[in-house]
């Protein structure tokens, strides 16, 4: 018999993980991706110097504001120290409270060791800031061993951050859309693609645009996007085939929604477009491929977190999320972007060498 159910009275739950969480997962992902991208040159002394420098810049400017966004997502931010007073080993979030400071501290030490010789060179060149450069250089030795050690420790911390950020969401069985082993690798892959995108944008933004760097980054982005598409198709195949009940339920919950259909088409186009562009123009397309990769990395996190919380666990239909204009919504997004921009301006002056030095690098 044909049945139609109309919900007359039920609870509507507000979104509990706010846009701050999206910003955190986006920024920490980009930072981890950028850090990993910088390793080839700074650890193995191979590869593209400009690429490594831009990646290091990306790792720093995204890694430093990320914990601020995370703290802001807490409804009791002043109690952050409870994470350390009441460690709970069976919670991924509890582990994350230790992985984040380990990663950020390691990143700062690694960056300093990587940039120390630069600071010494700038101190030697003189000028008004020579004293500051001398102080930062602290001798300015090219300490490759120490740098490798710092890189090793930070790599472990970075991988733990990537692991916990994925697992923290994956273990939530109550949300079928989140409870999939595809999620942690997809978060990592889109973070890596976003990091490459950020380096592509930086390559065009800072003077000294390098065609070789762009071609190299575009090549890497091509493979990463292919992996992102493959993983997405894998999830869809498992969900649509009905082989796994949770995946099938996740698809069934959203498949009839025009909003989700639009999101799926949009995400698919955003994944395929950079691939087509790179194949068509491996050089000269860096601006657009970079921006699309960044957009995709942010969009998947917004869709998973905000879109995922729009699906009621018991009620019918969807909750309606409206982006608040205050600090829990638009102002929060703009605030994080503002902090990111401020850090970019400050840190770029340390990481990107001035024009007269560039020939030496």
């Amino acid at each position: 018999m044909d049945t139609h159910i109309v919900e007359l009275v039920n609870v509507t739950r507000d979104t509990a993980w706010l846009p701050w969480a999206v910003q955190y997962f986006f920024l920490i992902g980009l930072s981890v991706g950028s850090f990993l991208l910088s390793l080839r040159h700074y650890v193995f002394a191979r590869g593209d110097v400009r690429l490594a420098r831009l990646a290091l810049l990306g790792a720093l400017v995204c890694g430093l504001p990320a914990p601020v966004a995370l703290l802001s997502d807490l409804h009791q931010p002043g109690r952050f120290y409870h994470f350390y007073l009441f460690f709970t080993p069976n919670s991924w979030m509890s582990w994350g409270a230790f992985f984040i400071p380990a990663y950020v501290t390691g990143l700062l030490v690694y960056a300093w060791l990587a940039l120390r010789p630069d600071f010494a060179a700038r101190a030697a060149a003189g000028g008004r800031l020579a004293a500051l450069w001398r102080l930062l250089a602290y001798g300015g030795f090219e300490s490759l061993g120490a740098r490798r050690l710092a890189a090793g420790i930070t790599t472990v911390a970075a991988l733990l951050v990537a692991l916990y950020t994925g697992m923290e969401v994956e273990v939530v069985r109550a949300r079928a859309l989140w409870h999939t082993p595809f999620l942690p690798p997809q978060f990592l892959l889109t973070a890596l693609a976003g990091a490459v995108g950020l380096a592509l944008v930086f390559n065009r933004s800072f003077t000294g645009y390098s065609v070789e760097t762009e071609a190299r980054l575009n090549r890497l982005l091509l493979w990463l996007q292919c992996a992102v598409i493959a993983l997405g198709l894998g999830w869809f195949a498992l969900a649509s085939s009905g082989l796994n009940a949770t995946h099938a339920r996740a698809l069934a919950e959203v498949a009839d929604s025009p909003r989700w259909q639009l999101t799926a088409v949009w995400a698919a186009l955003a994944a395929v477009a950079p691939v087509a562009l790179i194949v068509w123009r491996p050089v000269g397309s860096g601006w657009i491929t970079g921006l699309i990769a960044l957009h995709s990395a942010w969009m998947i996190r917004w869709t998973v977190f905000i879109g995922g919380q729009d699906i009621p666990k018991t009620g019918a239909g969807f909750y309606d999320y409206h982006l608040p204009l205050g600090h829990d919504g638009l102002l929060g997004l703009l605030g994080t972007a503002g902090l990111w921009l401020f850090l970019l301006i400050v840190i770029a002056s340390f990481v990107v060498p001035p024009r007269h030095d560039r020939a030496a690098h």
Binding site: M1, D2, T3, H4, I5, V6, E7, L8, V9, N10, V11, T12, R13, D14, A16, W17, D73, L74, H75, Q76, R79, F80, H82, F83, L85, F86, T88, N90, S91, W92, M93, S94, G96, A97, E168, V171, V172, R173, A174, R175, W178, A245, E253, Q309, I311, P312, K313, T314, G315, A316, G317, F318, D320, H322
Partner: protein, 244 residues
Amino acid sequence: MLQNRRDFLRGLVSISAGAIALAFDTPAQADTQAARTAPSTHRWGMVVDVAKCIGCQACTVACIHENAVPEDNFRTIVSTYEVHEGERTDAYMLARLCNHCEKPACIPVCPVGATFQRADGVVLVDGERCVGCAYCVQACPYDARFINPVTNKADKCTFCAHRLDAGLLPACVETCVGGARIFGDLRDPQSSVRRLLAEHQGEIKVLKPEQGTVPQVFYLGLDPRFAGKVDGEAALWRPSHQEA
């Protein structure tokens, strides 16, 4: 001088220790610590007799008043549905609340151990410890938790633990007009909940059994179409701030 300095340092240590003790060992925390460890011979549970519920929402209102639940939020509610089957239209009422599960999904995710289960099965939030991360809100399969906009902490049904400790029934049970909410000790073979469970062994159901949380709120006469996420048209009601 040396003596003074030593006194000063000794005083500083005492003040610091006092401040730490005040910050981390408040009377409220001592109470929760006692609640975490107190032994109990009971295991509280509830049976909802769906056929007896008339959807009057007296339980919803009683809960709001008893627990000062802020506007637009609910610790319990009677979800009400209109079911059209061919020419026939029926109403369906389903009381929802925290299921005080035997294997609660909210406890292992809590990063600071603020959510805990008492020996009598009641799942509680330690408001002194909660950081408002909302991880438990995500983990609960029943949408039973929310972030209280007044306290900025996780909030949920407590089975009116304060009333239980005083020998009273939860407010929603006390006020239920049709006697649809039956509450009692699952460990007591003579309790009404145990007798109901025994009498209707084959008919008793729980919400979302596939989640493996082993709920201790049981339903008599539960239509399987309402046991999980309901496939239907969404409610028109929205929180007042969303309407604005």
